[in-house]
């Protein structure tokens, strides 16, 4: 039972990393960024390049992979999404979807379509009585908590964070103060991409790595964002862990149905809470 809860916490933490970017980009730019799948997947593949082909240590490869994603995120924002500001949201969605398609194919081209096995980089277990929990999962949960608090600090204490929060509430108002909102939006986008890569890098050792891994995760994170509320940071945090629990408890009794259950939960939330987006 405890390990199920713990598993739920791990999944929730991963979902949280990836949903922040989705939630923030939606809250500020009103854009659902399908290209999130690709920053996530490419992060994992860069990690694999370092770990498998250069035989580097997991930690430094992970940090390098996340850093390598940041310019990619910037390029996507600068050359695709910024050009489509103020136009129909459908076009932005189609454009980001197109980027995801291109990215998936590029991955298949460079790394091949076959899945890569990636083992637990820590490999130690924490034993409490008759219960043993993998160290790696504990680290993930701790990172998630740290991230939540540091993001809260960032959004409450720093100037950049305050501007972003203000832009979440009223974009026009912030622009009227003479602040170049687009610059902050691209920061938000890059931050989101980096966090998606972080989620991917941390999730890769406990899941399978293949070019289409992004789609299923994106749909789950989308459910998280819908349940938590678009652009609502605390809501995203809570709903990520709640849906993580839903997944792990479903998986305990019905392993294949875990993802489906998340969507059913999302549908139930949608029935009871109308959303105007």
């Amino acid at each position: 039972m405890i390990d199920t809860i713990f598993y739920g916490l791990t999944i929730g933490a991963i979902l949280y990393f990836i949903s922040i970017g989705l939630s923030l980009t939606f809250g500020t730019m009103r854009v659902i960024n399908f290209a999130h799948t690709i920053t996530y997947t490419i992060g994992v593949y860069i990690l694999i390049t370092f770990v498998f082909f250069l035989k580097w240590h997991f930690l430094q490869s992970a940090i390098l992979a996340i850093l390598a994603i940041l310019p990619i995120g910037y390029v996507i924002e600068r050359f695709i999404i910024r050009r489509l500001y103020g136009e129909s949201l459908d076009y932005t969605f189609i454009a980001t979807f197109a980027i995801a398609l291109i990215g998936v194919d590029a991955i298949k081209w460079i790394w091949g379509a076959a899945p890569y096995p990636l083992s637990d980089p820590v490999g130690k277990y924490l034993t409490l009585g008759d219960l043993s929990l993998p160290m790696y999962r504990i680290i993930i949960v701790i990172i998630a908590l740290l991230l939540f608090f540091s993001l809260n600090l960032f959004f409450k204490k720093t100037m950049v964070g305050k501007i972003i929060v203000a832009a979440l509430e009223d974009k026009e108002g912030v622009r009227c103060l003479g602040i170049d909102v687009n610059r902050y939006f691209s920061m938000v986008f890059v931050l989101g991409s980096g966090l998606a890569a972080l989620g991917g890098v941390l999730y890769a050792p406990i899941s399978s790595v293949h070019p289409y891994m992004g789609l299923a995760v994106l749909l789950l994170c989308f459910a998280v964002v819908i349940v938590g509320g678009m652009g609502n940071l605390r809501g995203t945090f809570l709903s990520a862990f709640a849906l993580g629990m839903v997944m792990s408890f479903t998986a305990r009794f019905w392993p294949q149905g875990a993802e489906t259950m998340v969507f059913i939960a999302m549908a139930i939330v949608l029935i009871f809470r109308p959303i105007d987006i």
Binding site: I32, L89, F93, D105, L219, Q256
Partner: protein, 343 residues
């Protein structure tokens, strides 16, 4: 200069002639155009390919009703196609070999599913609508693959052999061809009537500005839901025809990744015109059937073309054809007008 300005709005002789034709006959001309087009390309391609093309065009029209007319981008329309295909196939396999009844049930179940899911989906707009559709499509794909495996045979799929019904032997290719062409024409006629009726204007107004339509006093939720159900049912028809055409159903008919095809078709043809959906459907099928062999990186090709469409080519092929026609029309009209002035 002033003359030019006036003449720009003058319809040409040809357009005037066309407008003189009574409305009913104009519809007939449209029909004949669609039918002859598909009959003409049959000798160029082979018959089974053209059947495929026509089924895909039916599907593209159902998507166009949602996206082009109502402005709701669905990334999960394959769900209804797949439902139609599976229900039709299961009906033939377990209940009765009658193909017409099977098609009826395929359409009915796809419509029913759209009715149920529409209650949730239709509340959202924009990219949210697209992703929720995609999520439900994902669930459907999973259900077919895993929990319903005893009935659907999972990845292997199952064969669908419909029985003969008098002269209606769908196993023979020419009869299937005529049958699918009839279905296409019926759907085309139905959607033409629907989109040019007051209801069609209403859904187009919802695309422009839903809040205002609500202010006028219409229950927009109901109309959006109804459109969603109609689009689902037509996709179900396309699915049933797919099952009967291939004599085979497998989860590919519900594949989440295949949705991009119909989006591409609708956009390249020109969203918001039925002809656009037809043209786009044919273009997509030609590319995927003949050029895919030469295009090694297929998804990358699709991605770059979608980007190109979004940035530079939003009107689609049909939009450009229309503009060309208008240009030619006004030019000819201008010449004629100037001649008259000279005399």
């Amino acid at each position: 200069m002033d003359n030019d300005k006036v003449s720009l709005h003058k319809p040409t002789a040809l357009a005037e002639e066309f407008m003189k034709i009574p409305k009913k006959e104009r519809g007939a001309i449209n029909f004949l155009a669609v039918a002859t087009f598909f009959l003409l390309i049959t000798p160029l391609l082979s018959m089974h390919r053209v059947i495929d093309f026509m089924i895909f065009c039916i599907f593209a029209m159902s998507f166009d009703l949602l996206y082009g007319y109502m402005g709701r981008l669905s990334f999960g329309q394959m769900l209804y196609l797949g439902t139609g295909a599976y229900i039709c196939g299961l009906f033939v396999k377990y209940v009765n070999g009658n193909p017409l009844l099977a098609i009826f049930f395929g359409i009915a179940f796809a419509g029913l599913l759209a009715m149920l899911l529409g209650l949730i989906i239709v509340r959202t707009t924009g990219a949210c609508f697209a992703l929720i559709n995609l999520a439900f499509n994902h669930i459907g794909f999973f259900l077919v693959l895993s929990p319903l495996r005893p009935i659907t045979r999972g990845e292997d799929g199952f064969g669908v052999i419909a029985s003969k019904l008098g002269f209606l032997n769908l196993g023979s290719r020419p009869i299937m061809f005529v049958f699918v062409l009839l279905c296409l024409l019926i759907v085309f006629y139905f959607l033409r009537q629907l989109t040019s009726s007051p209801y069609g204007i209403l859904i187009r107004s919802i695309k422009e500005d839903e809040t205002r339509v609500r202010f006028v006093g219409y229950n927009t939720f109901f109309y959006k839901w109804l459109t969603f159900v109609i689009a689902g049912a037509i996709a179900g028809l396309a699915g049933s025809l797919t099952a009967l055409n291939y004599n085979y159903v497998n989860p590919n008919s519900m594949d989440v990744h295949a949705n991009v095809g119909v989006v591409f078709a609708c956009l390249i043809g020109g969203a918001g015109h039925l002809y656009g959906a037809l043209v786009g459907g044919v273009i997509y099928m030609v590319i995927s059937n003949f050029l895919a062999y030469y295009i090694y990186r297929w998804e990358m090709f699709l991605g770059f073309s979608l980007l190109l469409i979004v940035f530079r080519f939003r009107m689609g092929v049909w939009g450009y054809i229309q503009r060309l026609w208008e240009y030619l029309a006004t030019r000819k009209g201008a010449l004629k007008f100037m001649k008259k002035e000279a005399i």
